[in-house]
């Protein structure tokens, strides 16, 4: 980006070192200090909070994953090395959960991006009264996640659900969504996409606002129609926002928990269990803390891997 050259043009380092003896100016001099010191001050609160809330518990989690710690056995913790990890990779339920999680990510991330983009573009159109469209954009985001799952489960219920009621007009036998792994999966993905596309729309809408109007005007003067304006003005300038939305959609998608839990409880059988659900089940239901921790660490590395790959692609955007 162009920032570096302008910065190095002398301003960043040309500040007098004002070291007077009173605290106010010490504070001021702290803020006036070089980039490095200022950066440390500005980033400190974030990293302190992360250290307390995430890093410390995560370190405990890494340690626990190396232990054989099943609270229901009544036995004390025993060091087990990588035993938990070998169990993880030989556990068929883990592979089912992993497959489900990856499938959900592969389906709902692009879906949410596409739908979110469409919603953002529509919300950006000039309407006389703007708030109804914008409210509709954001309401899905405002509904608590656990209830979206319950409502989704109810909507797809075979006897009392709205979906079957609407389909009633088109086919005579009703579909029992939750009897089939595939149909349950589709229902879950639809619900997740519905819920998350407003997050994407919000981020993209903010991004759309940063595109100067003059560019569109210049393009139409040059004879570009709406489609070309979209492809050559909107999309390129929207790439940073798309990148932000995509990364976080991807990360949260790998952690999908509430919606499948409340919609299908992982059924039929265990065909819609996600990795986060399996971790929670092992830790809080089965009290197998060692195994649950190992699963969490595996999820962490998978998320890291996916995110790193994607970041590599879009590092120029950020």
């Amino acid at each position: 980006m162009t920032n570096n050259t302008t910065r190095q043009a002398g301003l960043g380092n040309a500040r007098p070192a004002a070291r007077r003896s009173n605290p106010a100016s010490w504070a001021r001099s702290l803020l006036d200090a070089s980039d490095a010191n200022l950066a440390r001050v500005l980033l400190a609160p974030a990293f302190l909070l992360l250290l307390l809330i995430v890093v410390y518990p995560v370190c405990r989690l890494f340690w626990t994953s190396l232990l054989d710690l099943r609270l229901s056995s009544g036995m004390p913790a025993r060091f087990a090395g990588i035993d938990n990890y070998t169990s993880v990779f030989t556990d068929p339920e883990f592979w089912t959960a992993l497959t489900n999680t990856l499938l959900i990510t592969l389906i709902t991330v692009p879906a949410a991006l596409l739908v979110g983009l469409a919603l953002a573009l529509i919300a950006n159109l000039p309407f006389r009264v703007r708030w109804p469209v914008r409210l509709s954009l954001l309401i899905p985001w405002a509904m608590p996640l656990a209830f979206v799952g319950m409502i989704g489960g109810w909507f797809f219920q075979s006897d009392y659900g709205v979906v079957n009621d609407l389909l009633r007009h088109f086919r005579s036998t009703r579909i029992i969504w939750f009897n089939s792994g595939w149909l349950s999966f589709i229902a879950i993905c639809l619900t997740i996409t519905w819920k998350t596309c407003s997050f994407v729309a919000l981020v993209l809408l903010a991004g759309l606002q940063t595109i100067p109007q003059e560019l569109y005007e210049a393009a139409s003067v040059d004879g570009a129609g709406p489609l070309r304006r979209f492809c050559f003005v909107t999309l390129p300038l929207l790439r940073p926002a798309i990148a932000v939305a995509a990364i976080f959609r991807m990360i949260t998608s790998l952690q999908t928990f509430d919606i499948p839990l409340t919609m299908t409880r992982g059924g039929p059988g265990t065909s819609t269990v996600t990795l986060a659900m399996y971790i929670h089940q092992n830790t809080v239901d089965f009290l197998d803390l060692g195994y649950g921790a190992a699963l969490a660490v595996v999820l962490f590395f998978i998320s890291m891997g996916v995110t790193t790959l994607y970041l590599r692609q879009v590092r120029t955007e950020l």
């Binding site: 980033l43 992360l50 409502i151 909507f155 940063t210 950020l318």
Partner: protein, 275 residues
């Protein structure tokens, strides 16, 4: 057939968005006016045959719904404020300052969010207990801030980067410090970004269920999603009453959205940026 005019197309598109976004809420609202008996009819009814407000009365009577709303609001506002504060500082550092470890810091912040809070439930509970924060706003504000920090920081970083450097340079030549430039130039110009980040943080916090269930279990500190879950019986699931509670829960957020959507989406039209 004549092709549809742009206005008509716009209206249809708007209608599609409105139906998509509001239909479930509309359905929940209709359900909140029905009786339980009506819900077992097949085929289902859409509009209540004998609309009643009894569910709302019952919802407020069976549980202190207003208290839960207040708690959720307090926790959400506090964590939003804290998130915005910390994220703004961090985003400025990452967007503007010339530091070698910039990419690493950004990656670290994103990496932190790859650990689902769900998996940290037990160690976090122990941490909160050790800090004596259980059953207080603090027990939730801190984790919720962490929850929203990565996405808010990233949103703000990408917004700050769209502000041309000239403005800050001009201010600093006039004697303003870097942080002053941050507060007086960058933040106001990034208002849409700030409001977006704020809305994201608010809704993340409003949404959250699992930590709220475990950390703030006392009735006095309970938040709305947990409270609504309690309308369930051991076996019973009173949809009409829960629907009423849900409607009550969404209304404040909807009001906030309508009030702030203009700020979130104000364009960078006149002034300030012309070179």
């Amino acid at each position: 057939m004549k092709p549809l005019s742009p206005t008509a197309l716009r209206r249809i598109a708007a209608l599609a968005v409105i139906i998509n976004g509001l239909f479930p809420l509309f359905w929940i609202f209709l359900t909140s006016l029905k009786t339980e008996a009506e819900l077992t009819r097949v085929p289902i009814t859409w509009f209540p045959h004998a609309p009643t407000l009894a569910n709302y009365l019952r919802a407020f009577h069976d549980q202190p719904l207003a208290l839960y709303l207040f708690n959720s609001l307090a926790v959400a506002l506090l964590s939003t404020a804290l998130t915005l504060f910390i994220a703004t500082l961090a985003a400025y550092a990452l967007a503007r300052l010339n530091i070698g470890y910039r990419d690493l810091a950004l990656a670290a912040i994103i990496a932190v969010s790859t650990f689902p809070l769900v998996t940290l439930l037990v160690p976090l509970f122990q941490t909160m207990r050790a800090l004596g924060l259980l059953n207080s706003y603090g027990a939730l504000v801190l984790p919720y801030t962490v929850l929203s920090l990565p996405v808010c920081t990233l949103v703000l970083v990408s917004f700050f980067q769209t502000i041309p450097l000239d403005l800050e340079n001009a201010a600093m030549i006039d004697g303003c410090s870097r942080v002053g430039a941050l507060l007086r130039i960058v933040v106001p110009l990034s208002a849409p970004g700030v409001f977006t980040a704020g809305l994201l943080a608010f809704v993340n916090s409003w949404d959250e269920f699992l930590l709220a269930l475990s950390f703030n279990s006392a009735t006095r500190w309970r938040t709305l999603p947990v409270g609504i879950m309690l309308y369930q019986g051991e076996f019973a699931f009173p949809w009409p009453e829960i629907s009423a509670a849900l409607v009550v829960g969404i209304v404040p957020v909807a009001v906030l959205i309508v009030l702030f959507q203009q700020r979130v989406i104000s364009g960078l039209t006149a002034g300030g940026v012309k070179g």
